[in-house]
């Protein structure tokens, strides 16, 4: 085995998932559409006053982001589980946590990244000002991979179950709370033109911890689900 074979493994798993998603565009478009629709629902439900919307915007955007990442999570391991390639990944001599890392990264590219890119537009819908706009994009940039990592643990635990989807959201959503708190507080602070580096740093720290620990948890959960 050549020395760069770990990279090859990472890229082959990653590119397989991303290519599959691009062939079937709905996987990329649907979460985005869902994100947009949830954001649209809030002004209709609570009233169109710009001041009120501006106050609630960080929370609404982040709750919408949480829910739309949940959409893709169920499919993260389900297809591979059904066609048996997940079993092959587990049986392969390569570390499972590495291929899992690639899969989570692919999930983020498919659902998280488009959200980050579209976030400025959606933030404008909620009357967020330009300072808060930058914070929104930054928190989403750091926070959405974190959501993918945590969510993948739930997806791995429930992949062997028939009706895993709802159960997975029950398991995962409580674990999302710290991300939600720090991300929305960063946006709130930035809209008061204060420094929000601290919250971003904590989010970054959580991402660093999650990217090390989550693949281990995910791979052991997958082993339980497949066996």
């Amino acid at each position: 085995m050549a020395q760069h074979s770990y990279w090859q493994l990472f890229f082959s798993v990653y590119s397989k998932d991303v290519t599959l998603a691009f062939r079937q565009r709905s996987e990329i478009v649907n979460p985005l559409l869902f994100f947009l629709i949830v954001i649209t629902l809030f002004p209709l439900a609570i009233g169109p006053e710009p001041a009120l919307l501006k106050r609630m915007a960080p929370g609404i955007i982040w709750v919408a982001a949480l829910l739309s990442t949940m959409l893709g999570l169920d499919k993260l391991f389900r297809d591979d589980y059904n066609d048996g390639s997940l079993e092959q990944l587990i049986a392969s001599p390569y570390p499972l946590s590495l291929s899992v890392l690639a899969k989570v990264f692919a999930h983020w590219t498919i659902t998280g990244l488009p959200m980050v890119l579209m976030a400025p537009m959606f933030a404008l819908l909620m009357n967020l000002e330009s300072q808060a706009l930058g914070a929104t994009v930054l928190t989403l940039l750091i926070g959405t991979p974190l959501l993918s990592f945590i969510g993948a643990i739930g997806a791995a635990l429930t992949v062997g179950l028939q009706k895993g989807g709802i159960l997975m959201s029950l398991l995962v959503l409580p674990l999302y709370i710290p991300v939600l708190i720090f991300a929305t507080s960063a946006i709130d602070t930035s809209s008061m033109s204060l420094a929000y580096g601290g919250q971003l740093a904590i989010l970054g720290a959580m991402l660093a911890v999650a990217s090390v620990c989550a693949p281990i948890a995910i791979s052991s959960a997958l082993k339980v689900s497949v066996s």
């Binding site: 895993g164 029950l170 710290p178 959580m206 339980v224």
Partner: protein, 246 residues
Amino acid sequence: MWKWLHPYAKAERAYQLCNTLMPYFAVITVVCLTVGWVWGLAYAPADYQQKDSYRIIFIHVPSAILSMGAYSSMAIAAIIALVWQIRNAELAVISIAPVGAAMTAIALITGAAWGKPMWGAWWVWDARLTSELILLFLYLGVLSLYHAFEDKKSAGRAACILAVVGVINLPIIHFSVEWWNTLHQGATITKFDTSAIDSSMLWPLLINIIAFAGFVGVVTLIRLKNEILQCERHRPWVRELVGRGE
């Protein structure tokens, strides 16, 4: 120590250990619960500020402490189960989870009933109440994950993984929620000597804490015995045991 501990990885020995421990826990629970409740309800002096409503503390604080204590012991059992692959530890996780969930529910209900006369609202989005609620979600997550699996072997492993993930997240959740909002009064018992509470109230509180701990012990042991029997039901020792009418 390993030589001493290892036999208890066997189901039969663990079952016998449960049987030996049970009477002690049962006696502690019955005695302390009776003394604690009567003392707390009838004999402890009324608080000068909160009057008699403070008596809720005698069940609120023990259940809150035990809700977290039960979660940590569940997580320790889960780590043991995952690292050393001990089936009995998995069963212990599943036996503690409902008891811990009940403790959390009691803490929440009594907290609400105390909050209404004191803060004027049944529910306040304060840091500790919120983390307690999230703790309940974590417990329910472990339980529903376990019951969702047909195969109880993988169900136990999956529940263990979730419990460990939860315990890693719990401090993060706790501190983030704390930082998010704090309205709750400070911890009642921090150190014994500088305790903010008078000894006439502290003693019944401590007795109640012991009583609740004993209750958690008793019910966990009963449930653990059930789980062991359930998964060993085809073994001869279980048949012998049931045949003897025990």
